[in-house]
Amino acid sequence: MAKDEIQRTYRLIGTRPDRPDGLDKVTGRARYGADVSAPGMLHGAVLRSPHAHARILRIDASKALALPGVKAVVTRADFPTGLTGEDWNLQENTIAGEVALYDGHAVAAVAATSRLIAQDALRLIAVDYEILPHVTDVDAAMRPDAPAIRPGAADHSVPEGLHPNVVKYIDFGHGDLEAGFAAADLVREQSYTTEATHQGYIEPHACLGQLGADGKGEMWVCTQGHWYIRRMAAAVLGIEAAQLRVTPSEIGGGFGGKTTIFIEPLALALSRKAGGRPVKMVMSRAEVFRATGPTASAAMKVRIGMKKDGTLTAGQAEFRMQGGAFPGAPVSSALYCAFASYAIPAVAHVGYDVLTNRPKCAAYRAPGSPMAAFAVESLIDEMCRELGLDPLEVRLKNAVREGTKSSYGPTYGPIGLVQSLQAAQAHPNLSVPLGPNQGRGVAAGFWFNHGGETSVSLAIGEDGTVTVSVGTPDIGGSRASIALMTAETLGIAYENVRVNVVETGALGVNEPTHGSRATFASGKAAVIAARHAIAEMCRRAAAAWGIDPEAVDWQDGAAVPAGPNAGKFPPMPIAEIAARMGSTGGPISGHHEVTAGGVGASFGVHVVDVEVDPETGRTTVLRYLVVQDAGRAIHPAYVEGQYQGGAAQGIGWALNEEYIHDAEGRLLNPVFLDYRVPVASDLPMIDTVIVEVPNPGHPYGVRGVGETGITPPLPALANAIAAATGARLRSLPMSPPKVLAAIRAQRGG
């Protein structure tokens, strides 16, 4: 680690100014997906399948269309045919074709002059179904007697003889596995399961779409990525992407779940059918749970070899995941993450992506990594206990560092796992004594992070203030971090930079705010755009001074002669250059577009103390510590916020959250009362330590920080519960009845 870089101080980076959109958001003024209306607007509603798997024999909407106020009904017949690959999957998920594939699958949609009339109209649409056998469990879906959900959906990776529900097979590794296990003093193998959980953003999906007969349209939508919405909706509707102008609203949380389409093409199709009137669609919470998100569920088998001193010698993982009725469960990324934290001589991975009658899974914060961590970090903990070793020491001993070849192939650059483990060891939480029924659990976590397609523009205003246009919606303070980096680069005040999230017509293609990339990629592009603007401002100053542009430097927000030989001129501040730019060559701006490389992975270590009530099995989180490498924390408060939010979601996944289906495959808990996410009284303060091992791939050293934090809580909680009770839970969630049963089984056995 370059110490001088770590210690380098900046004027603005690392400070905690008020976020630019704070005022709008504390006054209720900020406009989210459902907050906007348009003249002549209609309201849309969706009819959804009540069956987990059923052939659609007939849809009769005549009664609905006869209801006064109803302007349009659409079914799959209103969409183009002949789509292939993921476009077909998206269309099929938007609205069912011949078969409804899960409880909640859209079957028809209606637009009417009011929301209530639209709801009434849904009840007047008659659908005849032929109920088909269904399957919702991943292992059941692989058994020979399981109904084939979509024969022919498998890709070429799947070996002969597997059930047609297996649509992708993954197999990779390196090293001599047999020799690795032979070198171990202890070899253990265990199986684990995790249930599907939902991203649980508090804002339901909402959009306002308009599409004319000429194929030109507009959309206002809450999304993590409006270019993705544009491309996907255009493909599903058979229109040209450039004719669709998509403006992102403020977004009430996404966590990966708002990177794809659900109701958006329906709003546009309804609008087109209703003579181009705008159509607003807002999902109910039950629709969000039944038809969007969730993450995959997983069944996992892990085998690990360890020496007496804690050295890991071999690791083997088999993960089976279902991501609903479509290919796309995050099996590959789960396997890539499984052993990513450790230097192990031999690893082998096998994965199965399996179809079931559940909603199409969407990305959820570090997709796949939390499940993988639950299995691997639980087993490592169990083996440490068996050998009487300290779990943090064992992790340090095996931790990957700069130059280690990762379990999934690439060799790591500078990374901060060792530093994070050391910071965790040094934290005061580690020396708090524990009482009866209390236990401490630790776990590490990993996420790759992502760069992605990025386009940013920056314009100097007439008064020397600066507008930055980015294409990554601000979900957790990225306007603030991008403004800080831009102001730092330009040498001007933070307040003099305004960062706008702009619509699809204003920039080149931007990937969504996903992969923890907004501050990394849009920030990096904004810094480079600022440098372009600086170069132009230096040229203008050089022209005014009559010297060579090479002889001009940029310092503290002003052009200055580069040295004594350049001549003696007073600094020319940005405001002065800006005031005269019209007569010195025209507007000054900077632009940068790139598929951003130089991503730095982020490792984290969590330590949790719990108390388990032996009478009820309820787990109380007493203390929680997140240590994670941020590369460089641009706005530390929002970095801490990512750590704390990720931990809270992971705690919910570990202890409570799960999709529960009845025997007919219907989701039993599509409301927050029954799908219980952590509330304020469930949690303690969440302590954070920001480790900073700068990422050389970013001008200020940034790594993405959004995702890693959801990964360690699952195993950390399992490890803490095992420490508190002696009972090892290998199936999530670790809800009170399951913990109680495990405690009783342990006592009995």
Binding site: T27, E203, E250, I475, F672, S681
Partner: protein, 159 residues
């Protein structure tokens, strides 16, 4: 269905609107009065994003019918700042970075104000239990709790 004429006071101003008897107070605030600061996260009383005060009592406006507002006084997030001055809770939320996406924020601010109105010196645990009906999926609550405690301290100091 026949709409019903409703007269009420919202944030101190007289208002009237026509409510379908099936519409919630939240629907009426958002769709008839243009007050979209109160949010719908669930519509079932589970998330608190729609929190408002009705005659001083904290309610989920998604669980109140619009017609029930007749003759009542409603306070929403839009009325929390007085003129250009933010309520200390609003200021502290910005200062402590107590919001990420901000969707839960209006409801939490309204609920927290109702707490501080009746308990100016709450413990951390009291704040946590009072806000247990307000879901935030982004923050893990840590900074929210700190902001509320800090605002309470400031309000006590000012009193």
């Amino acid at each position: 269905m026949t709409r019903i004429h409703v007269t009420a006071t919202v944030n101190g101003d007289p208002v009237e609107f026509l409510a379908d008897p099936r519409e919630t107070l939240l629907d009426c605030l958002r769709d008839h009065l243009g007050l979209t600061g109160s949010k719908e996260g669930c519509g079932t009383g589970d998330c608190g994003a729609c929190s408002v005060q009705m005659d001083g009592v904290l309610v989920c406006s998604c669980l109140v019918l619009g017609v029930e507002a007749e003759g009542r006084s409603i306070d929403t997030i839009e009325g929390m700042a007085t003129g250009g001055d933010l309520h200390p809770l609003q200021r502290k939320f910005i200062e402590h970075a107590a919001l990420q996406c901000g969707f839960c924020t209006p409801g939490i601010l309204v609920a927290a104000r109702a707490l501080l109105d009746q308990n100016p010196d709450p413990t951390e645990q009291e704040v946590r239990y009072w806000l247990a009906g307000n879901l935030c999926r982004c923050t893990g609550y840590d900074k929210i709790i700190r902001a509320v405690m800090d605002a309470a301290a400031e309000l006590r100091g000012a009193a």
